[in-house]
């Protein structure tokens, strides 16, 4: 009896404290895939958001109000993501949702956000998230199509018109393969060979031999993710290709150079973000401040290098903080949504965002930088 009373009192006290504090708090909801198969996306995303919330609250919050973060781990499962999104809206009463590490989980959260009129910034890649435009849905990562266009623009500049493609059959590779084939014609690029490989394959020399034996191929493009591109890169070196190799933004990380081997990767090009060359950015670069601040803080807190994916979360958080600041009313999701849509020239780690009622991605091709691997390190290509 005694203990029951104490528990009840404690619960009441706790509730009292919580609701008391909640009045001066901005409730922000996050659902990312911090564990499971998409953990390589969700893990840095969760860490980034936790770090940024901590930083912001220590610095006094937004207009004096602290952010109360509710972070769920959906494990990459779209069903769980839907449950968590509903819980965020109904139980946690958040004013905005960030997250959706994968396109699958994003699609689940998206429908909840649309039904409930809560602004949602997705961290997933697919263009279908913002095309057609949905009132409450925004996203930070650039799309596969933009990566293709960036690569093809670079090829055009090199006078390359005929290429061979070798793509992974995983979701990322297949999607980018389709997007690249769609926009190749616009850039005067002809795809003469179109090969694929399974995500767990150990050797791609047969496919590459076919590409090599195709008359007129001037470059090889490899849309893919995980170990595939590293093995393709090694196989290309093994076969002694003399034509340039292009990889996608899917492998834009230092770990890739390590896996492929600096020697094999020498001279290959890919589109990446400023985050990857943080230590090589000129001080007058528009992104210098934001990229340096983020990489240093992340490294200091977690003793890990930043990834492009953490950068997406960083930008989503920066966008929502900016929008809440301008909205003036931290309680009204629709006011925040309107402010978000009016975002203009916000510099993030991925690029510079300017949303409009027709464009909820807000990035252009300048967000990508063409990088080349030189002596085991990334070098921006002019």
């Amino acid at each position: 009896m005694m203990s029951k009373t104490t528990t009840a009192l404690a619960t009441l006290a706790a509730l009292g404290v919580l609701s008391g504090a909640a009045q001066a708090e901005i409730r922000l909801g996050v659902s990312v895939s911090a564990t499971g198969p998409a953990a390589f996306l969700g893990d840095p995303e969760a860490k980034t958001i936790e770090m940024l919330v901590e930083q912001l609250n220590e610095a006094g919050g937004i207009n004096g109000e602290e952010i109360a973060l509710t972070l769920y781990d959906d494990g990459g499962d779209p069903n769980k993501a839907r449950t968590f999104a509903t819980r965020l809206v109904e139980d946690d009463e958040v004013v905005a949702i960030l997250g959706g590490s994968t396109t699958g989980t994003t699609m689940s959260i998206l429908s909840v956000a649309e039904d409930e009129g809560i602004p949602f910034i997705s961290l997933a890649g697919a263009i279908s998230i913002v095309d057609p435009v949905r009132a409450n849905v925004f996203k930070t990562p650039h799309t596969d199509r933009m990566a293709c266009e960036k690569i093809f623009t670079d090829m055009q500049a090199q006078g390359i018109t005929k290429i061979g493609m070798i793509s992974g059959t995983d979701g990322f590779g297949a999607s980018m393969q389709a997007q690249c084939k769609e926009v190749a014609g616009d850039h005067g690029i002809e795809i003469l060979a179109d090969e694929t490989y399974g995500p767990q394959d150990a050797d791609m020399t047969p496919q590459l031999t076919r590409i090599r034996n195709t008359e007129g191929v001037q470059a090889v493009l490899n849309p893919g993710f995980g170990q595939g591109p590293a093995i393709v890169t090694r196989n290309v070196a093994q076969l002694g290709f003399e034509i340039p190799l292009y990889q996608s933004h899917g492998v834009a990380s230092d770990a890739f150079i390590e896996l492929a081997g600096a020697e094999a990767a020498e001279g290959l090009r890919l589109p990446g973000t400023a985050l990857l060359i943080a230590d090589k950015l000129a001080e007058d670069d528009a992104q210098y401040q934001v990229v340096t601040a983020y990489t240093e803080a992340y490294k200091a807190k977690y003793d890990q290098d930043v990834s492009t994916f953490g950068g997406y979360a960083h930008d989503a958080f920066a966008l929502i903080v900016d929008a809440i600041t301008r909205a003036g009313d931290s309680e009204d999701p629709q006011a925040i949504r309107d402010a978000l849509e009016a975002t203009s020239g916000l510099v993030g780690t991925t690029g510079t965002y300017s949303f409009s009622p027709e464009d909820h991605l807000g990035l252009d091709l300048s967000a990508f930088r063409m990088l080349e691997i030189k002596d085991g390190d990334w070098l921006p290509v002019e």
Partner: protein, 290 residues
């Protein structure tokens, strides 16, 4: 012509990887009729433990030895903790236990190590060897050589040693084996330890080619299992030939037909072979006594 040779080199490289995994299935299957679906996890552990001990500063051969010994101990533990307590259970239940074990090992690996892909340097550099216009990496020769060595070792073990024959006897009839004085519990422990060691050895050899991460075991085990079925489950010769054949089917299909169909064609060939020869190419004919 040089294209054909290149396809065959690719097929032999990949095939030797499959063969090494398939050879790992042999001992446990021979001792207990159990197909150990955690075999791919042993391969993964061999690679992962080598990566981390190597990065911790151990020389590569020593790191590989540590990985093989630790994985072998894990194999023994799997037998003691999961298989032995369920000794009376039918073979299907034991197989399901090994599937469970593989999930546990995978989960533990991503917690203890990490979720990233890793690699360590090839044993004899990365300069391709040129043969008649085609190229092969030195590491591929290591893998092919390793598969041959394990095959010869297993063949001698099963046909020339008393212990190997004790393993076969245990599978044949456990009670009869006990009656003639074979310690069947010990045979089971031995077979799990050896299988895990072979798996880890495979992991050490193939990691410079395939890379390693906590989740590579499933795909390896599936391909290795397919190779073992093609060659005949339980027969070291079958595992070797099955693995190499499977690798060559895939490479030739990718080279001459289309890379889209390479797995489909390989599996259609396997189905066709099993349709005509249900025991696989070199499988023993089992006769049911009535």
């Amino acid at each position: 012509m040089d294209a054909l040779l290149q396809f065959l080199f690719s097929g032999l490289t990949v095939g030797a990887v499959y063969a090494l995994v398939a050879l790992g299935f042999t001992i446990i299957y021979n001792a207990s009729d159990v197909v150990n679906f955690a075999q791919g996890e042993f391969v993964m552990l061999g690679g992962m433990i080598t990566v981390f001990t190597f990065e911790a500063g151990l020389p590569l051969p020593l790191a590989a030895l540590v990985a093989i010994l630790v994985t072998s101990a894990i194999g023994v533990a799997l037998n003691k903790l999961a298989i032995e307590p369920a000794r009376g259970a039918p073979v299907v239940s034991l197989i399901i236990i090994t599937i469970g074990a593989s999930i546990v090992i995978r989960g533990a690996t991503q917690l203890i190590f990490d979720k990233q892909l890793h690699r360590f340097p090839s044993f004899s550099g990365d300069d391709p060897i040129h043969v008649l216009g085609a190229t092969i990496l030195p590491q591929s020769l290591w893998v092919i050589g390793g598969a041959l060595a394990v095959f010869v070792g297993l063949w001698i073990f099963f046909t020339r040693t008393l212990t190997g024959k004790a393993v076969l006897a245990t599978a044949n009839n456990r009670v009869a084996a006990q009656l003639v004085g074979i310690n069947t519990g010990w045979v089971m422990t031995l077979s799990f330890g050896l299988s895990a060691a072979i798996g880890a050895f495979a992991g050490v050899l193939v990691t410079p080619i395939t890379l390693v991460g906590y989740d590579v075991g499933v795909a390896l085990a599936l391909k290795g299992f397919a190779a073992a079925m093609l060659g005949g489950m339980g027969n070291p010769k079958g595992a070797l030939v099955g693995g190499l054949l499977l690798g060559c089917f895939e490479a030739l299909t990718a080279g001459y037909l289309s890379s889209q169909y390479k797995e489909a064609v390989a599996f259609i060939v396997i189905l066709a072979v099993l349709f005509v020869m249900p025991q696989g190419l070199f499988g023993r004919k089992s006769t049911e006594r009535v």
